[in-house]
Assembly symmetry: C2
Homo-oligomer: 339 residues x 2
């Protein structure tokens, strides 16, 4: 099984996703700042994986603290919580995980810093385990929606690499495949960072999941020719009304699926839902550096003089979503989420 | 003015579009086989440009012939016509230009081979000149459809590089810009071969046309936010009913434009219309090598083990097209083209 996030006794070990599929190289994070860097630079990415990594970042901050009393310990932790929260704005799992770690700390203020260390590490490990369990439950629920000999289209990477393991949308694909229901997975390459071509294809090749990589722009033609039975993606943040922020390109796929009468599913853990936001219009959308569009690896593909616009996410209105698959079950519109 | 195709007395000189925007290097073609290679390998691309280059290829074949009588001369020419026709299947301008050169040859069977040489070269030069004139006429017609302070979105390269000069869809953008009507051109990068990022952005940067490059997947979000006033693309072949084959991704843009109530225009010379085909279902769609998707330049972006599907074109049904702009004027649905 692909395990992208691993606690190694005194440090966090990440499979460096920037290097895939060319090399499988691990990156060690011995302090919380290295975890923040890893999140910011996409060494670890994917909404649930970011949450898990951030939780371990807090556990590392706890180990780093030299405080002997709770208030000093909490102050040290708050610095890390703030620094980790500032890495990426869109995926809510990050803030959810940080808030959970903070709450555990506050609830155990009577413990000594050493005891708190252990307790926070246990919480991070629990978040990691729960994520894998949630993904497997999503797989169970989602696989029931997949018809026999299904041709599924997906976007970005929502697999083991995007989570603590198994995956959300790609977890549903895995579950469908293990039940013999998958004919083919169409893998959108997912420009600009190419998480589909680099990461989803890598997971599929490694596990024998039948797949074909396409340029993102080819999805519409496949749908027109009846070669796609359903579309499934992950999510970075889901508003109370079901509006869903996810990797740039998801919204276009939802419009296309709708136009062709193809079901469009979202798979995400409940921690991706942000009931505090009434609609998707309130979700902050990260804009990333122009170099992601202007270059592929070291290769320049556009004139340096040409301005670039590079939003990392878009918002799919709930009206275009057939169902949202979570570990608690399958939700259909109208969506009205609360904690 | 950008002149991608130039006759240099005894050979054809092409601006090698595979190297742009990194270097401006010319490629010389001294015989028709080199022209065929240049078309096949995308040193020259764009439906009208392919037609013009192929016409010069026939003129080169005429120069190469050692025949002293017409029948032998025609036989030599037929070899070149066949070889040039086999380079790329979708753009009809190629076959249109070859047929025109063949007809001129047959009509002048009374001339000596030397005289025929000169006549065929004159015809290739005429095709080149007519293409620029057609593009300028398209620009005139099309610019009238562009509102003030327009934000236009385009796909692929349809500029000077895709034609004998000035461009089709990008010619309309040029004309709108020269009238002060262009606020911004959104340039779809156009995976997999990146003609938007590499070529359209290069033309815009060179001529001061305000533009921003985006990943193709960002177009939908721009439309949802009201940042696109119209979409305009070129065409590789237009059926009698208006169904239009163009660069892969065009169909998806047309669906998205339709969903958002944004006009979707096609600009192409009349030679792009193939009235022999009743509908777009009959247009042959080229499938190109997997390496175009799997690599960007020398950079591998997907596992070698992952299968790839790489159609170079898709078909946009006439129902999604607001108008087709040609040198003869603006056509609106229902389309019913004949020669």
């Amino acid at each position: 099984m692909i395990a992208p996030i691993r606690w190694a006794g005194d440090r966090l070990v990440l499979l460096d996703q920037r290097r895939l599929p060319l090399e499988e190289k691990e990156q060690e994070c011995a302090d919380w700042r290295q975890v923040a860097d890893a999140i910011r630079t996409l060494a670890v990415r994917g909404a649930p994986a970011i949450g898990v990594a951030a939780a371990f970042g807090v556990a590392l901050a706890a180990r780093e603290s030299r405080a002997t009393v709770f208030d000093d310990f909490l102050a040290d932790l708050e610095v890390a919580l703030k620094g980790l929260a500032a890495t990426r704005p869109t995926a809510v799992n990050l803030f959810w995980a940080l808030e959970r770690m903070r709450r555990v700390c506050l609830e155990h203020h009577a413990l000594s810093p050493d005891q708190l260390n252990a307790r926070l590490l246990a919480e991070a490990l629990a978040i990691q385990d729960e994520d894998v369990a949630a993904n497997r439950a999503m797989g169970e629920h989602g696989a029931r929606l997949v018809p026999d000999r299904a041709r599924i289209l997906t976007h970005c990477n929502t697999g083991a690499l995007a989570t603590a393991g198994y995956g959300t949308a790609l977890g549903v694909v895995r579950a469908a495949h293990s039940r013999g229901r998958l004919d083919l997975l169409w893998v959108n390459e997912t420009r600009p960072v190419l998480q589909g071509a680099r990461l989803t294809a890598w997971e599929c090749a490694k596990e024998g999941i039948p797949h074909r990589v396409i340029s993102d722009v080819a999805a519409a033609a496949l749908m027109a020719r009846g070669q796609v039975d359903l579309v499934i993606t992950g999510a970075d943040r889901i508003a109370a009304n079901g509006d869903t922020a996810n990797k740039i390109g998801t919204y276009g796929l939802a419009v296309l699926a709708n136009h062709h009468g193809i079901p469009f599913y979202v798979a995400a853990p409940f921690s991706t839902i942000d009931p505090a936001l009434a609609s998707g219009a309130l979700i902050p959308i990260e804009e990333r550096d122009a170099s992601e569009v202007r270059r592929v690896g070291s290769q320049l593909i556009a004139p340096e003089a040409s301005p670039v616009y590079n939003p990392a996410f878009d918002v799919t209105p709930a009206a275009l979503i057939t169902a949202i698959i979570t570990e608690r079950g399958v939700y259909r519109p109208p969506f009205a989420f609360s904690r």
